[in-house]
Symmetry: C2
Subunit: 245 residues, 2 copies
């Protein structure tokens, strides 16, 4: 499994991606709060088309958006072309990124944490983040809570989409590797099928505590939503505000 080449299906079309996620901004208040508290230069990891990066830059805070998907980053660049926003777009693998100066604040949103499929990939990511943070720097990220009903060994759903497309959505959870394999097969009226695959790693709450402390992070806050609701067994998300210890 090579995350660079085999796990990019949902990002093949940046315009569609933006359209799908245009109404999502639940994470912005928390991210902006900390960006203003900590100051720049901020690093926004797995920044995609800049959904969170640009609002941070619009506050006048320097920010580097890092992503390894050329298409997504090109679209981000287009959005800020001709502006004076203090933003740098950087094509890099987040699990081994470097920045010119250490940062007081690094963030990673959109459940991108789930793209780091193995313990080794998680370790590389967190080592890179720790190295890039200034002393006392803050790292904020979120990931899906391993909700019981979402992680059955197999689930299938079939439905009709607009313009008569039939959609078959399959999920298989590999409990050993803690990987959810999602497959969407869209078949149009002419029986042409298009397949979209994605693998998502799940990390369990106590496992996350061990992971973060093992990498030298002190968890300052853990939330169940980006709106700061408590993290508990009914949560759908896990949001961590960690300080470089």
């Amino acid at each position: 499994m090579n995350i660079l080449t085999e796990n990019m299906d949902p990002y093949r079309n940046p315009e569609t991606y933006d359209e799908l996620h245009k109404d999502y901004n639940a994470d912005l208040p928390l991210l902006l709060e900390w960006a203003e508290k900590q100051g720049g230069p901020v690093v926004d990891l797995a920044c995609g088309t800049g959904r969170a990066t640009i609002p941070i830059a619009e506050k006048g805070i320097e920010v580097t958006g890092i992503d390894l998907n050329t298409g997504m980053l090109e679209r981000a660049k287009q959005k800020t072309a001709g502006t004076l926003l203090p933003v740098i777009w950087s094509l890099q693998d987040c699990s081994n990124f470097t920045v010119d100066t250490v940062s007081p604040f690094i963030c990673m949103t959109g459940n991108s944490f789930q793209h780091f499929l193995t313990n080794e990939a998680q370790d590389r990511l967190l080592r890179s983040v720790h190295r890039a943070l200034a002393d006392g720097g803050v790292f904020i990220f979120g990931t899906r809570f391993p909700v019981h009903e979402d992680l059955a060994p197999e689930q299938t759903e079939e439905y009709e989409e607009e313009e008569g497309r039939r959609v078959r959505y399959e999920e298989r959870y590999d409990a050993g590797r803690q990987l959810l394999h999602c497959r969407t097969i869209r078949t149009d009226e002419d029986s042409r099928a298009q397949e979209e695959d994605i693998m998502l790693r799940y990390t369990y709450p106590q496992e996350m505590e061990r992971l973060l402390s093992g990498h030298g992070f002190k968890i300052e806050h853990r939330y169940g939503t980006w709106e700061k609701e408590p993290l508990d067994a009914d949560s759908k998300e896990m949001i961590y505000v960690c300080r470089k210890a």
Copy 2:
């Protein structure tokens, strides 16, 4: 939650415990294989009434059985009283035990690993094991695989037992703390109810890899059964053979 005082219900009656588990010996071949390969002095952690300890001693291998339950250990002592078996029974907390000399082989069976309810308790246990192992020493233990259908948020079962006792069995899984709370309420014909509670910590496969490597263990084998079947997403158990790295 104090594991020493609040999680001992199933061990209140050692005779009943022995009777319930008398036919279980699936773990013995693997344990004896490694005890003979590594030699003594062996340490059998959470030895209970000596179900695995005694067969190891019967091979002529020195073994110390450690448990923190006085009643269980008393029953173990009775079983070997008057014999010349090379066994020492030692009343200690496994998460902070000491032995006179380092051991080439330490084991912990019967899913006792699940009694270490927090990351901190797991850490204490593994630090104690690592300290007590000789260089190149082997630690073998097993724990239940986090089977999806077993870890629903709530499950209840009611049935009749012998002599007209009604039994209500309840399970609640706290996905945040990764703790399964099992409660058995037995009501006899005279409506007298007896309650038995136990908490079991679940550790996920990738979490276990991180836990063991973080404590300086190299996983030599991982099995899905004590009979050495492969560990995969359909496993019911996780058995680890680890070497002090």
